[in-house]
Amino acid sequence: MSAAWALFRRDLQLGLRQGSDAATALAFFVLAVAMFPFGIGPEPAILARIAAGLLWVIALLASLIALERLFQEDHQDGGLDLLLLAPAPLPLLVLAKLAAHWLVTGLPMILVAPLLAWLLQLPAEGVAMLMLALLLGTPVLALIGAVAAALTLGARRSGLLMPLLVLPLYVPVLIFGVAAVEASLAGLDPAPHLSLLAALLLAAFAVCPWLAGVALRQAAT
């Protein structure tokens, strides 16, 4: 347990002090969203209609960018071998790394989401739901992405491989995340969608750290 806690604190400090990976992902999130009013035109009605889906898709891509390097530094400097030898269970260590990663990349994205939602003319009553859905959904993205990041360690063209592996698995999160926001905008009950997002989160918590651990072990040998 203390090993996982130490790893969490180390990764958090590294993430906060270096900050470049997290900042890149966040900048991508903001810039990519800001491109759309130029591409589509500034008509509020059209932007408002697509805002929820657009924000979610860009959030998916941004978290993908951030995740690619989750284990890469550890893999290169030999830290990964130390993790495998650590007295704590590997899935727990993966979770510790992910928690630190999410705090420096996922959380800032959720915090700037209202600003971007406002840029895209998303009606105000959908903003809180968007943040709540992102709060449930982005950890799922991180958990699934961690498995893929571990799988592609040392692969040729791992940057091209990640989206191919991960995006199909992101589809349920996208569907229910967008549906929750749209339901709340339409005055319908968003609870079932949130409930499914929460279900995805629990299932990902149960399965992904373990699979990522298996993948890390075989990447190190």
Binding site: T152, L161, L164, L165, P168, L169, V171, A203, L211, Q218
Partner: protein
């Protein structure tokens, strides 16, 4: 190549079982191939000529005789890939890796056939080439999972690493199988519910069920043929690599 012998000894030992596979597969392959050809001949005649048109769909129903077997195969092959992956990860059995590797592109092809024939059927019947309902979407995801599996297999310089990484991905993708199968029951989909494997028996007339089952068997035979050929080819390649190593060492 000083390490050649250290690698070679366990490798040859592990091929003891694959050697038996080689022998058996060579013996049965011609029989499976002949049976497949006969089944296709009968099945295509039944499906395209002998089977009656449908009371609603007319002659368009004949697309089903390709669409449904391909869809069944796409799911079964994924289940086989996942099973082989689990065996490969747990018991490190070299044949299991080869089975997963050879089956995956075949499964992708079956999925593609199911998607394309479904689309050809959907346009005249539903009035749309494609709709984003739960069944069609989950099948498309299956197709992408196959593509990811194939890409990951070939992404490493060390084929062993590719095998293991792809095996883990295959296990993660298993969650999609029940979603595909039950999507038509869980959600209001445009796609019709199951006609053959359903509670209360098939809701498809025997005159149409028979050609469908013959075609399904033909597809299965075709898959087994190609799988055997693929695994045999990989085994031969591995044997050649081992021989080269021996000569070099």
């Amino acid at each position: 190549m000083a390490a050649g012998h250290a690698i070679l000894a366990p490798m040859l030992h592990r091929f003891a079982n694959p050697a038996r596979f080689s022998r058996i597969s060579r013996a049965i392959l011609p029989w499976v191939a002949a049976a497949t050809a006969i089944l296709f001949a009968i099945g295509l005649y039944l499906a395209l000529v002998a089977a009656p048109p449908d009371y609603q769909q007319g002659e368009t129903v004949r697309i089903m005789y390709v669409h449904v077997p391909a869809a069944w195969m796409s799911l079964s092959v994924y289940a086989l890939v996942a099973l082989a992956s689990a065996v490969a990860l747990i018991w490190r059995h070299p044949l299991a890796d080869l089975v997963a590797k050879s089956a995956s592109p075949l499964g992708a092809a079956f999925t593609f056939i199911a998607l394309v024939t479904g689309s050809l059927w959907g346009k005249p019947m539903w009035g749309a080439w494609w709709v984003w309902d739960a069944r069609l979407t989950s099948m498309l995801i299956l197709f992408f999972l196959y593509l990811g599996h194939i890409a990951l297999l070939n992404a490493f310089d060390d084929p062993q690493r590719g095998n293991r990484a792809a095996a883990i991905l295959a296990l993660l993708g298993v969650v999609n199988l029940p979603i595909i199968k039950f999507s038509v029951d869980w959600w209001n989909t445009l796609h019709q519910p199951a006609s053959v494997f359903r509670m209360g028996g098939p809701s498809i007339d025997p005159a149409m069920l028979r050609p469908l089952l013959v075609m399904a068997l033909a597809f299965l035979g075709y898959f087994v043929c190609l799988l055997l050929i693929g695994v045999r080819a990989d085994l031969a390649a591995a044997r050649r690599r081992a021989q080269q190593l021996e000569r070099a060492g």
